[in-house]
Amino acid sequence: MTDFGDAFSTAFALVANLDGDLSEVVALSLKVSLSAVLIASIIGLPVGAALALYRFPGRSVLVVLVNAFMGLPPVVIGLVVYLLLSRAGPFGVFGLLFTPTAMIIAQVLLITPLIAALARQVMETLWLEYEEQFRSLGSTPLRSLGALLWDGRYSLITAVLAGFGRAIAEVGAVMIVGGNIDHVTRVMTTSIALEVSKGNLALALGLGIILVVISVLVNGLVFVLRGNQRQGVSP
C-alpha cells in the first residue's frame, strides 16, 4: 500500500508546487477534450434529434450503426485517423499527424456517435410526448428540431458529459495520432501510460488522481449550473 501513500503525496506535491510540466499536460488534456466535446456536440446533438424526429429510408440502419459506434475501441479510431492523416494518406498534405489537432479529430470521431445516440434516446421520448401537439400547431420539422433540443437541454447535458468523460479518459486514440511528444502532444492519460511503463508508479498514480479530480470538478460544475437553472425560469 505504500504505492498509494506515495501516489497521494506525489499528487499533492505536484499540485502544491504548481508544477509547470503538469499544468501544461493538464491544460492540453482539457483543451483537446473540451474542443472535441464542443465539436462533437454541434454535430451529434442535431443528428440525434433528427434521427428521433424524421422518418426516412435507411433510418433504422443508421440508428443501429450509431448505437454500435458508441462503443468503438479508441485504438481503432486512432489507427484509422493515423492512416488518414499520415504522409501517405489522403489528408497527409495538411501535416496534422502528431499535433493536438489530430488528437481533437480522433476524439471527435470517438464521441460523436456516443453523443448522437444518447441524444436520440432523449429526443425520442420527448417527441413521443410533443408530436401530436406540434403537428396540431402546424410546426415545421426544423422548428420542431429546435424546440426539442431546447426543451431537452437538461437531459442533453448528460449526453454531453458522457462524451466528455469518454474523451478525457481515453488513451488509445490520442497515443496513436498524438505520439505522446513531450511539450507538444503529451496529455494526462498518455503521461500515465508512459510513467507506468517507466516503472514510475507513484507519479502515474498521482497523475491519475489529478485526472479523476478534474473529471469530478467538471461534472460538479455542470451539476451546480444545472441546479441553478432548474430553480429559476428560462424565458
Binding site: 400547431l137 402546424g138 422548428r143 426543451d151 425560469v233 428560462s234
Partner: protein
C-alpha cells in the same frame, strides 16, 4: 396570422369515413356535417372512437376510406384555422407565457402583437400571475387551462377538445367551460368529446353519440337530452353500462 376576420372554413363534411389500424376497423362509415358556431359534443363509452374521430377531423390522422372536406376552405390550408386541446395537456418545458408565445410564433403572429394576445389569454384562463412560472410546475388543472389559453390566443375558427376536463376538479372545470363558452361567443366552432353527461348538458348545442366506431345518433341537444331516438343512446343517458356485445337493455 390571426384568423378571426377571415371567412370561415366551415362547414366540415365527413363522407363515409372509415379508419383501420392494424387490421381493426376502429371507425366505420361515418358521415356527418359540422356547421359553424355551435358547440358539438361527442359522447359515448370508452373506446367508442371519440378521440379518433376528433383527430381525423383535425387532420392528425388520415381516414382509410372516405373523405373529409372543409367546404369553406376555398384553397386555404384548413390547418391554419384550427386548434386542439388534448386530454393530457402537452406543454413545453418553458415558462407559461413562452408556451403561448411558441404557438403564436408557429402561426406567424408578428412579435409586437404577441404580448397583448398572451396577456389576454392568460387573464381569461386565470393564469396571469403565473406568466413567468415554469409551465411544468403548474397543477394538472392549471396546465389544462394553459393548454386552453394557448388555443384561445390562436383565435382558431374551429377548436377541437378531447375530454379536456377528464380528471380535473370542478373549479378548474368551471373555468375551462367558461372559456369554451366565451370562445363560442366569439364565433369559434367547438367540437368536443366528453365522458361527463352533465357537462354535455351544460355546453352542447348538438350531440353526437358514438358507439363501437359508429355514429349512432346526431341530434339537437335539447331534443337529445329529452329523448334520444336510439335505444343505446337512451341506455347511455340512463347511466347503464354499455357493453361491447349488445346485451338485453332494461326497458325505460
Amino acid at each position: 396570422m390571426i384568423n378571426a376576420d377571415a371567412p370561415t372554413i366551415l362547414p366540415l363534411k365527413l363522407k363515409d369515413i372509415s379508419l383501420e389500424i392494424g387490421g381493426h376497423r376502429l371507425l366505420k362509415d361515418i358521415s356527418c356535417r359540422f356547421e359553424a358556431s355551435e358547440i358539438s359534443i361527442i359522447i359515448g363509452p370508452n373506446g367508442a372512437g371519440k378521440s379518433l374521430l376528433l383527430r381525423l377531423c383535425h387532420g392528425l390522422l388520415s381516414p382509410s376510406a372516405g373523405n373529409i372536406c372543409w367546404l369553406g376552405a376555398c384553397g386555404r390550408d384548413p390547418a391554419d384555422f384550427q386548434a386542439m386541446v388534448f386530454q393530457r395537456p402537452v406543454l413545453l418545458r418553458r415558462s407559461v407565457s413562452a408556451n403561448i408565445d411558441f404557438a403564436l410564433s408557429l402561426r406567424k403572429v408578428p412579435k409586437r402583437r404577441r404580448c397583448d394576445l398572451i396577456e389576454e389569454a392568460l387573464r381569461r384562463a386565470g393564469l396571469y400571475r403565473f406568466a413567468k412560472t415554469s409551465a411544468r410546475v403548474l397543477s394538472f388543472g392549471e396546465q389544462q387551462r394553459l393548454a386552453l389559453a394557448r388555443s384561445w390566443a390562436l383565435r382558431p375558427q374551429v377548436l377541437f377538445l378531447d375530454e379536456p376536463t377528464a380528471s380535473i376538479d370542478p373549479a378548474a372545470t368551471h373555468v375551462i367551460e367558461e372559456v369554451i363558452m366565451a370562445m363560442r361567443e366569439q364565433g369559434t366552432k367547438i367540437i368536443m368529446s366528453t365522458h361527463d353527461l352533465g357537462q354535455a348538458r351544460r355546453l352542447a348545442d348538438e350531440v353526437l353519440f358514438v358507439h363501437r366506431g359508429r355514429l349512432i345518433e346526431k341530434s339537437n341537444a335539447a331534443a337529445f337530452f329529452v329523448e334520444p331516438r336510439n335505444d343505446l343512446a337512451q341506455a347511455f343517458l340512463r347511466g347503464e353500462l354499455l357493453w361491447w356485445q349488445r346485451r338485453e337493455l332494461t326497458p325505460p
